[in-house]
Protein backbone atom coordinates (compact mmCIF):
# COMPACT_ATOMS: atom_id res chain seq x y z
CA UNK A 1 0.00 0.00 0.00
CA UNK A 2 1.39 3.44 -0.93
CA UNK A 3 1.39 6.23 1.58
CA UNK A 4 -1.04 9.04 0.83
CA UNK A 5 0.67 12.28 -0.19
CA UNK A 6 -0.41 15.60 1.25
CA UNK A 7 0.68 18.93 -0.24
CA UNK A 8 1.26 21.70 2.28
CA UNK A 9 0.45 24.69 0.10
CA UNK A 10 2.72 27.56 1.01
CA UNK A 11 2.05 31.11 -0.10
CA UNK A 12 4.57 33.84 0.76
CA UNK A 13 4.13 34.80 4.41
CA UNK A 14 2.82 31.43 5.58
CA UNK A 15 4.76 30.25 8.62
CA UNK A 16 3.23 27.04 10.05
CA UNK A 17 4.33 24.64 7.35
CA UNK A 18 6.95 22.80 9.45
CA UNK A 19 4.74 21.85 12.41
CA UNK A 20 1.87 21.05 10.05
CA UNK A 21 4.14 18.68 8.15
CA UNK A 22 5.26 17.07 11.39
CA UNK A 23 1.65 16.42 12.41
CA UNK A 24 0.81 14.91 9.02
CA UNK A 25 3.84 12.61 9.13
CA UNK A 26 2.98 11.52 12.69
CA UNK A 27 -0.40 10.49 11.32
CA UNK A 28 1.34 8.25 8.81
CA UNK A 29 1.03 10.52 5.79
CA UNK A 30 3.64 11.77 3.37
CA UNK A 31 3.85 15.54 3.58
CA UNK A 32 5.58 17.90 1.19
CA UNK A 33 5.72 21.69 1.13
CA UNK A 34 4.36 22.94 -2.20
CA UNK A 35 5.45 26.54 -2.78
CA UNK A 36 3.53 29.12 -4.78
CA UNK A 37 6.32 29.27 -7.35
CA UNK A 38 5.62 25.79 -8.71
CA UNK A 39 3.34 25.11 -11.68
CA UNK A 40 -0.21 24.87 -10.33
CA UNK A 41 -0.96 21.72 -12.33
CA UNK A 42 1.55 19.74 -10.26
CA UNK A 43 -0.85 20.03 -7.33
CA UNK A 44 -3.02 17.38 -8.95
CA UNK A 45 -0.44 14.73 -8.03
CA UNK A 46 -1.41 14.83 -4.35
CA UNK A 47 -4.14 13.04 -2.44
CA UNK A 48 -4.97 15.83 0.00
CA UNK A 49 -4.04 19.43 0.75
CA UNK A 50 -3.24 21.51 3.80
CA UNK A 51 -3.16 25.32 3.77
CA UNK A 52 -1.20 26.26 6.88
CA UNK A 53 -1.42 29.29 9.13
CA UNK A 54 0.57 32.48 8.89
CA UNK A 55 0.17 35.72 6.99
CA UNK A 56 -0.04 35.01 3.28
CA UNK A 57 0.95 38.11 1.33
CA UNK A 58 1.34 39.89 4.67
CA UNK A 59 -2.46 39.94 5.06
CA UNK A 60 -2.58 42.73 2.47
CA UNK A 61 -6.12 43.84 1.53
CA UNK A 62 -7.59 41.21 3.94
CA UNK A 63 -6.34 37.98 5.46
CA UNK A 64 -6.29 35.39 2.68
CA UNK A 65 -7.74 37.75 0.05
CA UNK A 66 -4.77 37.81 -2.32
CA UNK A 67 -3.87 34.12 -2.02
CA UNK A 68 -7.49 33.25 -2.81
CA UNK A 69 -6.97 34.64 -6.33
CA UNK A 70 -3.88 32.53 -7.00
CA UNK A 71 -4.07 30.00 -9.84
CA UNK A 72 -3.07 27.32 -7.30
CA UNK A 73 -6.44 27.80 -5.64
CA UNK A 74 -8.25 27.13 -8.91
CA UNK A 75 -6.55 23.73 -8.97
CA UNK A 76 -7.39 23.16 -5.32
CA UNK A 77 -11.03 23.95 -6.07
CA UNK A 78 -11.09 21.46 -8.93
CA UNK A 79 -9.46 18.74 -6.81
CA UNK A 80 -11.85 19.46 -3.94
CA UNK A 81 -14.73 19.10 -6.38
CA UNK A 82 -13.37 15.61 -7.12
CA UNK A 83 -13.64 14.86 -3.41
CA UNK A 84 -10.04 15.25 -2.27
CA UNK A 85 -9.69 16.54 1.30
CA UNK A 86 -8.52 20.12 1.88
CA UNK A 87 -7.91 21.65 5.29
CA UNK A 88 -7.14 25.34 5.82
CA UNK A 89 -5.85 26.30 9.24
CA UNK A 90 -6.17 29.92 10.41
CA UNK A 91 -4.78 31.91 7.47
CA UNK A 92 -5.46 28.84 5.36
CA UNK A 93 -9.07 29.03 6.50
CA UNK A 94 -9.19 32.67 5.43
CA UNK A 95 -7.97 31.66 1.98
CA UNK A 96 -10.66 28.96 1.65
CA UNK A 97 -13.42 31.35 2.74
CA UNK A 98 -12.22 34.16 0.45
CA UNK A 99 -12.03 31.66 -2.41
CA UNK A 100 -15.54 30.32 -1.85
CA UNK A 101 -14.35 26.74 -1.25
CA UNK A 102 -16.12 26.99 2.07
CA UNK A 103 -19.02 26.68 2.61
CA UNK A 104 -18.77 25.39 -0.91
CA UNK A 105 -20.99 26.97 -3.55
CA UNK A 106 -17.98 28.67 -5.23
CA UNK A 107 -19.55 32.06 -4.55
CA UNK A 108 -18.08 33.82 -1.54
CA UNK A 109 -20.75 33.42 1.11
CA UNK A 110 -18.88 34.15 4.32
CA UNK A 111 -16.20 36.34 5.79
CA UNK A 112 -13.65 35.83 8.50
CA UNK A 113 -14.11 39.29 9.94
CA UNK A 114 -11.98 41.15 12.48
CA UNK A 115 -12.31 39.77 15.98
CA UNK A 116 -15.10 41.28 18.06
CA UNK A 117 -13.98 41.45 21.67
CA UNK A 118 -15.10 43.64 24.57
CA UNK A 119 -12.80 46.59 25.25
CA UNK A 120 -10.10 45.44 22.88
CA UNK A 121 -9.42 44.89 19.22
CA UNK A 122 -6.87 43.29 16.96
CA UNK A 123 -4.80 40.15 17.27
CA UNK A 124 -5.68 37.73 20.04
CA UNK A 125 -3.99 34.47 21.08
CA UNK A 126 -5.35 32.03 23.66
CA UNK A 127 -6.03 28.36 24.34
CA UNK A 128 -9.73 27.65 23.86
CA UNK A 129 -11.97 24.60 23.88
CA UNK A 130 -13.85 23.35 20.83
CA UNK A 131 -16.75 20.90 20.79
CA UNK A 132 -17.18 18.26 18.12
CA UNK A 133 -20.54 18.55 16.34
CA UNK A 134 -22.35 15.97 14.21
CA UNK A 135 -20.98 16.56 10.72
CA UNK A 136 -19.89 14.83 7.52
CA UNK A 137 -16.48 16.52 7.94
CA UNK A 138 -13.81 13.95 7.05
CA UNK A 139 -11.44 15.36 9.66
CA UNK A 140 -13.86 15.02 12.61
CA UNK A 141 -16.59 12.53 11.74
CA UNK A 142 -14.75 9.70 13.53
CA UNK A 143 -14.89 11.70 16.78
CA UNK A 144 -17.70 11.47 19.32
CA UNK A 145 -20.08 14.45 18.99
CA UNK A 146 -20.00 16.47 22.16
CA UNK A 147 -16.39 15.66 22.98
CA UNK A 148 -14.25 18.66 23.83
CA UNK A 149 -10.72 19.37 22.58
CA UNK A 150 -8.40 22.12 23.76
CA UNK A 151 -6.60 24.01 21.00
CA UNK A 152 -4.90 27.38 20.63
CA UNK A 153 -6.17 30.26 18.52
CA UNK A 154 -4.03 33.17 17.33
CA UNK A 155 -5.56 35.59 14.87
CA UNK A 156 -6.90 39.08 14.25
CA UNK A 157 -9.58 38.15 11.71
CA UNK A 158 -11.31 34.95 12.79
CA UNK A 159 -14.98 35.76 13.18
CA UNK A 160 -17.08 33.58 10.88
CA UNK A 161 -19.99 35.70 9.71
CA UNK A 162 -22.34 36.25 6.78
CA UNK A 163 -24.39 39.23 5.70
CA UNK A 164 -27.23 36.86 4.82
CA UNK A 165 -29.41 36.56 7.92
CA UNK A 166 -29.65 32.99 9.14
CA UNK A 167 -26.92 31.69 6.84
CA UNK A 168 -24.59 30.62 9.64
CA UNK A 169 -27.42 28.98 11.58
CA UNK A 170 -28.40 27.08 8.42
CA UNK A 171 -24.84 25.85 8.05
CA UNK A 172 -24.99 24.58 11.60
CA UNK A 173 -28.23 22.70 10.92
CA UNK A 174 -26.65 21.17 7.81
CA UNK A 175 -23.71 19.83 9.80
CA UNK A 176 -21.30 22.29 8.21
CA UNK A 177 -20.06 23.66 11.53
CA UNK A 178 -18.09 20.64 12.75
CA UNK A 179 -16.38 22.49 15.60
CA UNK A 180 -17.84 25.13 17.91
CA UNK A 181 -16.11 27.15 20.59
CA UNK A 182 -17.15 25.72 23.95
CA UNK A 183 -16.69 25.92 27.67
CA UNK A 184 -14.48 23.20 29.19
CA UNK A 185 -17.63 21.31 30.25
CA UNK A 186 -18.91 21.18 26.69
CA UNK A 187 -21.52 23.93 26.74
CA UNK A 188 -21.37 26.06 23.61
CA UNK A 189 -19.42 29.25 24.35
CA UNK A 190 -21.73 32.19 24.89
CA UNK A 191 -19.19 34.98 24.84
CA UNK A 192 -15.64 36.18 25.12
CA UNK A 193 -13.11 34.75 25.85
CA UNK A 194 -14.45 31.20 25.36
CA UNK A 195 -15.63 32.41 21.96
CA UNK A 196 -12.44 34.35 21.28
CA UNK A 197 -13.58 36.36 18.26
CA UNK A 198 -17.37 36.68 18.45
CA UNK A 199 -17.97 34.14 15.64
CA UNK A 200 -21.61 33.66 14.66
CA UNK A 201 -22.98 30.37 16.00
CA UNK A 202 -19.70 30.07 17.97
CA UNK A 203 -18.25 28.54 14.81
CA UNK A 204 -14.61 27.57 15.10
CA UNK A 205 -14.73 25.82 11.72
CA UNK A 206 -16.94 25.52 8.65
CA UNK A 207 -16.84 22.70 6.12
CA UNK A 208 -18.22 22.01 2.66
CA UNK A 209 -21.49 20.07 2.32
CA UNK A 210 -19.60 16.83 1.52
CA UNK A 211 -17.25 17.46 4.43
CA UNK A 212 -14.02 17.21 2.46
CA UNK A 213 -13.06 20.90 2.72
CA UNK A 214 -12.54 22.35 6.18
CA UNK A 215 -11.77 25.94 7.18
CA UNK A 216 -10.58 25.86 10.78
CA UNK A 217 -9.46 28.84 12.87
CA UNK A 218 -7.81 27.05 15.84
CA UNK A 219 -4.41 25.43 15.31
CA UNK A 220 -4.53 21.63 15.74
CA UNK A 221 -0.87 21.35 14.71
CA UNK A 222 0.07 23.40 17.79
CA UNK A 223 -1.87 20.94 19.97
CA UNK A 224 -0.13 17.82 18.63
CA UNK A 225 2.06 17.29 21.74
CA UNK A 226 0.37 16.58 25.06
CA UNK A 227 3.17 18.32 26.88
CA UNK A 228 2.48 21.51 24.94
CA UNK A 229 -1.01 21.99 26.34
CA UNK A 230 -1.28 25.20 28.32
CA UNK A 231 -1.26 24.96 32.10
CA UNK A 232 -4.61 26.78 32.14
CA UNK A 233 -6.30 23.83 30.42
CA UNK A 234 -8.46 21.76 32.77
CA UNK A 235 -10.41 18.52 32.34
CA UNK A 236 -9.54 15.12 30.87
CA UNK A 237 -6.90 16.44 28.49
CA UNK A 238 -5.14 18.17 31.37
CA UNK A 239 -5.09 14.87 33.27
CA UNK A 240 -3.53 13.15 30.27
CA UNK A 241 -1.00 15.97 29.93
CA UNK A 242 -0.01 15.70 33.60
CA UNK A 243 0.35 11.92 33.34
CA UNK A 244 2.46 12.26 30.19
CA UNK A 245 4.70 14.85 31.78
CA UNK A 246 5.12 12.70 34.90
CA UNK A 247 6.12 9.79 32.68
CA UNK A 248 8.60 11.94 30.75
CA UNK A 249 6.48 11.69 27.60
CA UNK A 250 5.80 15.33 26.77
CA UNK A 251 5.74 14.46 23.08
CA UNK A 252 2.83 12.03 23.39
CA UNK A 253 -0.01 12.76 20.99
CA UNK A 254 -2.22 15.67 21.97
CA UNK A 255 -5.80 16.52 20.96
CA UNK A 256 -4.83 18.23 17.72
CA UNK A 257 -3.56 14.94 16.31
CA UNK A 258 -7.13 13.60 16.25
CA UNK A 259 -7.91 15.72 13.18
CA UNK A 260 -4.80 14.55 11.33
CA UNK A 261 -5.60 10.95 12.29
CA UNK A 262 -9.08 11.54 10.91
CA UNK A 263 -7.59 12.62 7.59
CA UNK A 264 -5.32 9.56 7.51
CA UNK A 265 -8.25 7.26 8.26
CA UNK A 266 -10.31 8.86 5.49
CA UNK A 267 -7.47 8.48 2.98
CA UNK A 268 -7.01 4.82 3.99
CA UNK A 269 -10.71 4.18 3.37
Amino acid sequence: MTTARVAIVQFPGVNCEAESGRALRRAGLEAEVFRWTRPPGELRDYDAYLLPGGFSYQDRVRGGALAAKDPLVEVLAAEAERGKPVIGICNGAQVLVEAGLVPGSDAVELALAPNRMPDRSGYYARWVHVRIEPSPCVFTRHLEPGSVLPMPVAHGEGRFTSREPGRMAALGRAGQIPLRYAEPDGRVAEGFPSNPNGADEAAAAVCSPRGNVLALMPHPERAQDLGGLARAITGPWADRRDQALAAGEAGAEGPGMLLFRGLARHLED
Binding site: V61, A65, K69, E98, G100, A107, V108, A111, R116, R163
Partner: protein, 199 residues
Protein backbone atom coordinates in the same frame (compact mmCIF):
# COMPACT_ATOMS: atom_id res chain seq x y z
CA UNK B 1 -40.11 75.89 16.10
CA UNK B 2 -36.92 76.54 14.22
CA UNK B 3 -34.27 73.89 14.53
CA UNK B 4 -31.43 74.87 16.78
CA UNK B 5 -28.19 75.30 14.85
CA UNK B 6 -25.52 72.85 15.91
CA UNK B 7 -21.91 73.79 15.27
CA UNK B 8 -20.96 70.32 14.15
CA UNK B 9 -18.46 69.80 11.37
CA UNK B 10 -16.85 66.91 9.62
CA UNK B 11 -13.22 66.86 8.59
CA UNK B 12 -11.76 64.28 6.27
CA UNK B 13 -8.10 63.35 6.51
CA UNK B 14 -6.83 61.59 3.39
CA UNK B 15 -3.65 59.80 4.39
CA UNK B 16 -1.27 58.12 1.99
CA UNK B 17 2.15 56.54 2.29
CA UNK B 18 4.89 58.67 0.76
CA UNK B 19 6.52 55.49 -0.54
CA UNK B 20 4.69 53.04 -2.77
CA UNK B 21 1.98 51.35 -0.73
CA UNK B 22 2.75 47.59 -0.67
CA UNK B 23 -0.92 46.77 -0.18
CA UNK B 24 -1.90 48.66 -3.33
CA UNK B 25 1.07 47.28 -5.29
CA UNK B 26 0.08 43.70 -4.42
CA UNK B 27 -3.62 44.29 -5.05
CA UNK B 28 -2.85 45.78 -8.47
CA UNK B 29 -0.54 42.90 -9.41
CA UNK B 30 -3.00 40.22 -8.31
CA UNK B 31 -5.96 41.92 -9.99
CA UNK B 32 -4.06 42.35 -13.25
CA UNK B 33 -2.85 38.75 -13.23
CA UNK B 34 -5.93 36.89 -12.06
CA UNK B 35 -9.14 38.88 -12.50
CA UNK B 36 -11.04 39.39 -15.77
CA UNK B 37 -11.17 43.10 -15.05
CA UNK B 38 -7.38 43.21 -14.61
CA UNK B 39 -6.20 43.94 -18.15
CA UNK B 40 -8.05 47.24 -18.24
CA UNK B 41 -6.90 48.26 -14.77
CA UNK B 42 -4.32 51.02 -15.16
CA UNK B 43 -3.73 52.16 -11.60
CA UNK B 44 -4.65 51.46 -7.99
CA UNK B 45 -3.79 53.53 -4.96
CA UNK B 46 -4.90 53.08 -1.36
CA UNK B 47 -5.43 55.93 1.05
CA UNK B 48 -6.62 55.76 4.63
CA UNK B 49 -9.65 57.97 5.05
CA UNK B 50 -10.20 59.26 8.56
CA UNK B 51 -13.30 61.31 9.36
CA UNK B 52 -13.59 63.41 12.47
CA UNK B 53 -17.08 64.63 13.33
CA UNK B 54 -17.97 67.04 16.10
CA UNK B 55 -17.18 70.56 17.18
CA UNK B 56 -13.95 71.21 15.34
CA UNK B 57 -11.42 74.06 15.29
CA UNK B 58 -10.20 75.86 12.18
CA UNK B 59 -8.31 74.02 9.46
CA UNK B 60 -4.83 74.97 10.64
CA UNK B 61 -5.53 73.65 14.13
CA UNK B 62 -7.06 70.44 12.75
CA UNK B 63 -3.97 69.88 10.62
CA UNK B 64 -1.76 70.53 13.61
CA UNK B 65 -3.68 68.06 15.78
CA UNK B 66 -3.59 65.36 13.12
CA UNK B 67 0.14 65.90 12.64
CA UNK B 68 0.72 65.70 16.38
CA UNK B 69 -0.41 62.11 17.01
CA UNK B 70 0.27 58.78 15.36
CA UNK B 71 -3.31 57.93 16.28
CA UNK B 72 -3.92 59.53 12.89
CA UNK B 73 -0.76 59.30 10.82
CA UNK B 74 2.99 59.16 10.84
CA UNK B 75 4.25 62.34 9.12
CA UNK B 76 7.64 60.77 8.53
CA UNK B 77 6.12 58.10 6.34
CA UNK B 78 2.73 59.46 5.30
CA UNK B 79 1.23 62.62 3.89
CA UNK B 80 -2.15 63.94 4.93
CA UNK B 81 -4.62 66.18 3.08
CA UNK B 82 -7.49 67.71 5.05
CA UNK B 83 -10.86 68.30 3.41
CA UNK B 84 -13.56 70.33 5.14
CA UNK B 85 -16.19 71.02 2.48
CA UNK B 86 -17.83 68.92 -0.20
CA UNK B 87 -16.72 71.36 -2.89
CA UNK B 88 -13.09 70.94 -1.92
CA UNK B 89 -11.47 68.32 -4.15
CA UNK B 90 -10.39 65.02 -2.68
CA UNK B 91 -6.74 64.18 -3.43
CA UNK B 92 -7.56 62.13 -6.50
CA UNK B 93 -5.64 62.22 -9.76
CA UNK B 94 -7.12 62.72 -13.21
CA UNK B 95 -9.30 59.78 -14.18
CA UNK B 96 -9.31 58.18 -10.75
CA UNK B 97 -12.54 56.90 -9.22
CA UNK B 98 -12.76 56.47 -5.46
CA UNK B 99 -14.11 53.38 -3.71
CA UNK B 100 -14.50 53.35 0.04
CA UNK B 101 -14.22 50.07 1.95
CA UNK B 102 -15.12 50.06 5.61
CA UNK B 103 -15.45 47.32 8.21
CA UNK B 104 -19.11 46.99 9.08
CA UNK B 105 -19.81 48.12 12.66
CA UNK B 106 -16.10 48.52 13.21
CA UNK B 107 -15.14 51.87 11.72
CA UNK B 108 -14.90 53.85 14.98
CA UNK B 109 -11.44 54.63 16.34
CA UNK B 110 -11.99 54.99 20.07
CA UNK B 111 -8.32 55.52 20.95
CA UNK B 112 -8.16 58.45 18.54
CA UNK B 113 -11.38 59.86 20.03
CA UNK B 114 -9.90 59.66 23.53
CA UNK B 115 -6.72 61.36 22.35
CA UNK B 116 -8.69 64.20 20.71
CA UNK B 117 -10.74 64.73 23.84
CA UNK B 118 -7.61 64.76 25.97
CA UNK B 119 -5.97 67.37 23.73
CA UNK B 120 -8.94 69.63 23.00
CA UNK B 121 -11.61 68.85 25.58
CA UNK B 122 -14.06 68.21 22.72
CA UNK B 123 -15.96 65.00 22.15
CA UNK B 124 -15.66 63.87 18.53
CA UNK B 125 -16.42 60.74 16.56
CA UNK B 126 -13.50 59.32 14.57
CA UNK B 127 -14.05 56.76 11.84
CA UNK B 128 -11.62 55.15 9.44
CA UNK B 129 -11.86 53.24 6.19
CA UNK B 130 -9.78 52.49 3.13
CA UNK B 131 -10.25 54.68 0.08
CA UNK B 132 -9.06 53.00 -3.10
CA UNK B 133 -8.32 55.27 -6.05
CA UNK B 134 -8.86 53.27 -9.22
CA UNK B 135 -8.07 54.05 -12.86
CA UNK B 136 -9.30 52.01 -15.81
CA UNK B 137 -8.27 52.29 -19.43
CA UNK B 138 -11.92 51.83 -20.20
CA UNK B 139 -14.96 50.51 -18.43
CA UNK B 140 -17.39 52.27 -16.19
CA UNK B 141 -19.18 51.53 -12.98
CA UNK B 142 -19.56 47.84 -13.80
CA UNK B 143 -15.79 47.36 -14.04
CA UNK B 144 -15.29 49.26 -10.83
CA UNK B 145 -17.74 47.11 -8.92
CA UNK B 146 -16.31 43.96 -10.48
CA UNK B 147 -12.95 44.91 -9.02
CA UNK B 148 -14.32 46.05 -5.68
CA UNK B 149 -16.97 43.61 -4.60
CA UNK B 150 -15.89 40.03 -3.88
CA UNK B 151 -18.28 37.50 -5.40
CA UNK B 152 -16.00 34.59 -6.23
CA UNK B 153 -12.43 33.65 -6.98
CA UNK B 154 -12.49 35.51 -10.30
CA UNK B 155 -14.57 38.49 -9.31
CA UNK B 156 -13.88 41.18 -6.75
CA UNK B 157 -11.00 41.89 -4.43
CA UNK B 158 -11.27 45.01 -2.33
CA UNK B 159 -14.42 44.39 -0.28
CA UNK B 160 -15.85 41.20 1.18
CA UNK B 161 -19.51 42.22 1.51
CA UNK B 162 -20.09 39.74 4.32
CA UNK B 163 -18.10 41.88 6.73
CA UNK B 164 -17.42 45.13 4.88
CA UNK B 165 -19.38 47.90 3.19
CA UNK B 166 -18.36 49.32 -0.15
CA UNK B 167 -19.28 52.79 -1.47
CA UNK B 168 -18.40 54.24 -4.84
CA UNK B 169 -18.03 58.00 -5.17
CA UNK B 170 -19.47 59.87 -8.11
CA UNK B 171 -17.89 62.97 -9.60
CA UNK B 172 -17.84 64.50 -6.13
CA UNK B 173 -16.61 62.57 -3.13
CA UNK B 174 -19.22 62.84 -0.36
CA UNK B 175 -18.46 64.58 2.90
CA UNK B 176 -19.16 62.93 5.24
CA UNK B 177 -18.57 59.62 3.51
CA UNK B 178 -17.76 57.20 6.32
CA UNK B 179 -20.50 58.46 8.55
CA UNK B 180 -23.21 58.43 5.95
CA UNK B 181 -25.99 55.90 6.18
CA UNK B 182 -27.35 53.63 4.95
CA UNK B 183 -24.45 51.80 3.29
CA UNK B 184 -24.80 51.47 -0.45
CA UNK B 185 -23.62 47.92 -1.05
CA UNK B 186 -25.40 46.56 -4.09
CA UNK B 187 -27.17 43.25 -3.83
CA UNK B 188 -25.33 40.24 -5.16
CA UNK B 189 -25.67 40.13 -8.93
CA UNK B 190 -25.97 37.04 -11.04
CA UNK B 191 -22.58 36.05 -12.34
CA UNK B 192 -22.00 36.45 -16.05
CA UNK B 193 -22.59 33.12 -17.77
CA UNK B 194 -19.38 33.33 -19.79
CA UNK B 195 -17.18 33.28 -16.69
CA UNK B 196 -19.26 31.08 -14.44
CA UNK B 197 -17.32 27.90 -15.05
CA UNK B 198 -14.11 29.59 -14.02
CA UNK B 199 -15.32 30.55 -10.54
Amino acid sequence: MAARRVSRLVAQAWIELKADDPEAVSALAVARANLPVGPSLRGLRRLRLVEIAGKLPARAKIEELLHQSTQFYNPHKERCAVRLAVDEPAPLRAGERAVLVVEREDARRSAAERWWRHETGEVVEVREGAAWAVTFDDGGADALMDLALVRGRRHGLLCNPHSQDCRVAGETVPLPWLGEAPPSVPRRRARPRATRSRE
